[in-house]
Symmetry: C2
Subunit: 130 residues, 2 copies
DNA sequence: AATAAAATTAGAATGATTCTAAAAAATAAT
DNA sequence: ATTATTTTTTAGAATCATTCTAATTTTATT
């Protein structure tokens, strides 16, 4: 029971997630996958996403109150707007060594999410008075 | 519509969350709150948690596949076991300035989660062979 | 005291995700 | 290649967390 073999669907799902920079939900991935395999079922998407995640081939990003999103594995960080929840990529460089040193243990990965107010929300708040 | 007034329930919920180091779920908070107010309802807990979170009086921590957890606001980071999902506190110091500088924008807060394998899971994996 | 605004309640509704059991497909073993 | 075993997929029900709705109660304001 080593690394699971990548199946037909798994392979395609991995492609979809890896090539997207938009943090897709299972539902969105499902919609894209259907274009190639019209008979596929949502549970299969979840099965594969979980398998790929277990095997460290994709990342899972949870933003409070939203469905989980799936992301390419390539190291990068995230910027979340506190107001509207909009999620953006940002790269603050690899902090693994620095963090491991501080933590005094070895880590598999880390997840860094900066919360801010996006320009749109900042404007809206100004309009309505803070 | 400034900072919402803290209500009877809100006050107690804030106390519960702030004094706990165990990242409680809404359900768990509900159970504790009931000891004081036996007639309170789960929706009220959610209402207040959301209000407190909006007002930056508590934190919300999402770990994939688990119900949201609520946490004291006091700055600290988290350690999550990839295998069992166990969540621990860890303090790696305040990186706000460093991150703002790198990101080139001002942030409200940040959320840093280290993924690792806890001792128990490491042992289990060794036993079953990786 | 009367009015307005906000919070709470009860319970239904929603939505994301998992589960179950059966069928199909892939892999390994004879 | 045939059979047996394991893994994946399917369909749909089930679950669980969370939100929503509308009515009621509480709190604050005039």
């Amino acid at each position: 029971m080593v690394l699971s073999t990548v199946t037909k669907y798994g392979k395609k799902i991995l492609e979809i997630v890896s090539s997207s920079h938009s943090h897709m939900t299972a539902e969105e991935i499902f919609d894209v996958l259907r274009q190639t395999y019209p008979t596929v079922v949502l549970a299969t998407v979840y099965n594969n996403l979980n398998r790929l995640w277990q095997d460290d081939l994709i990342r899972k990003v949870s933003v409070e109150g939203m469905p989980d999103r799936y992301d390419r594995i390539q190291r990068h960080d995230h910027l979340v707007c506190k107001q509207c929840g909009r999620l953006l990529d940002i790269d603050l460089g690899d902090l693994t060594k620095q963090l491991e040193k501080k933590a005094g243990l070895s880590i598999l990965s880390y997840d860094l999410k900066l919360t801010y107010l996006c320009e749109d929300c900042k404007k809206k708040i100004e309009r309505n008075g803070a």
